[in-house]
Symmetry: C2
Subunit: 179 residues, 2 copies
DNA sequence: ACCTGAACACCGTTCAAGT
DNA sequence: ACCTGAACACCGTTCAAGT
């Protein structure tokens, strides 16, 4: 996305965009706000709620992968982002967490989700783009070589859910631990 | 970093760089290879080993935050990256994991580390840069409001280790679970 | 109030020309 | 073998000028 290309695509032929948005960053923030989904209504099952919030976020990124750099560069400040964050906190409270422990869980879960999306996009473009650069011989990496036949065992959806379940298990342990 | 600025900084006055590197991407890959630390020798404590590998990676990024986008955009293919990955796998094998379960653990741990680094850089620049954009009133976000006084309870090092411990606990549970 | 066009200060990359 | 300089096709942003 570039201001000039967007102008051209809109027929508006140039950078009249600056009469509607102060700059490129502000325009992209509005785009992010426009595509952000509304958080789902909470149920009594915090795992299901947080899983759904995770899935929503991942679906948004996979629907608009070009926006990932924008999402990574700064926290979203729009109205729905605040509601979504509140819903995430509500799920963790339902899990029995409070105060600093709740924030620990939130940040750890959030880091996993963001990191997974980065790795997923990296993998999706690296897969069908560059077959060129295979590593050399990779001598003395026996475990890497042995694991090669398991590398394709999971698809992206499965892998995301497996890591998510691991986060939820860790959160359960945190809630059951020293309160 | 731009090719023109780098040329200027080297005194070489222009883009003679293309006689040494095919393009900007290749040059940055060499920089990444040059600053990548050697993986530490394994001990008998897989948690300590994987924690050290995590810490090394995080230290590298915090020493060179401008390289994070490069690291996120494609997997590193240099010699030391292969050795580091092998060391990561070795630690997880020491934890009692094999095959697909080992890869599940590796990808989940890796996603957490990468996501944390993204959030950390986002926070480090957002903190001392933009005081300007505070959210509006944020009505009906009671949990968010209540958690506000806990937001600064952890520093970046502590927070990273807490999430790392959660990953390790989830890995332990995975290794103890259905083999 | 909205759009245009030229301008400024940048990019990565190519390529003929110099030494 | 290595570097230069001009050129090409881009950027984001500003600003005076038009309607």
């Amino acid at each position: 996305m570039s201001m000039r290309k967007l102008g051209r695509a809109l027929g508006v032929e140039a950078m009249a965009l600056y009469h509607h948005f102060p700059n490129r960053t502000a325009l992209l923030d509005e785009v992010v706000a426009a595509i952000a989904p509304e958080p789902p209504a909470p149920t009594s099952d915090w795992r299901a709620d947080l899983a759904e919030l995770s899935r929503q976020y991942r679906d948004m990124v996979n629907a608009h992968p070009h926006l990932l750099p924008v999402l990574l560069s700064r926290p979203s400040r729009h109205e729905r982002a605040a509601a979504t964050q509140e819903a995430q906190y509500a799920a963790l409270r339902q899990a029995g967490l409070h105060g600093s422990a709740l924030l620990d869980a939130h940040r750890t879960w959030g880091s996993y989700v963001i990191g997974y999306l980065v790795v997923e996009q990296q993998g999706r473009i690296g897969a069908h783009a560059s077959r060129e650069w295979r590593p050399a011989v990779t001598v003395d990496a026996p475990i890497t070589a042995e694991l090669d036949r398991y590398q394709a065992a999971r698809d992206w959806d499965q892998q995301f859910d497996i890591g998510l379940a691991m986060q939820f298990d860790a959160i359960t342990a945190l809630a059951a631990g020293p309160h």
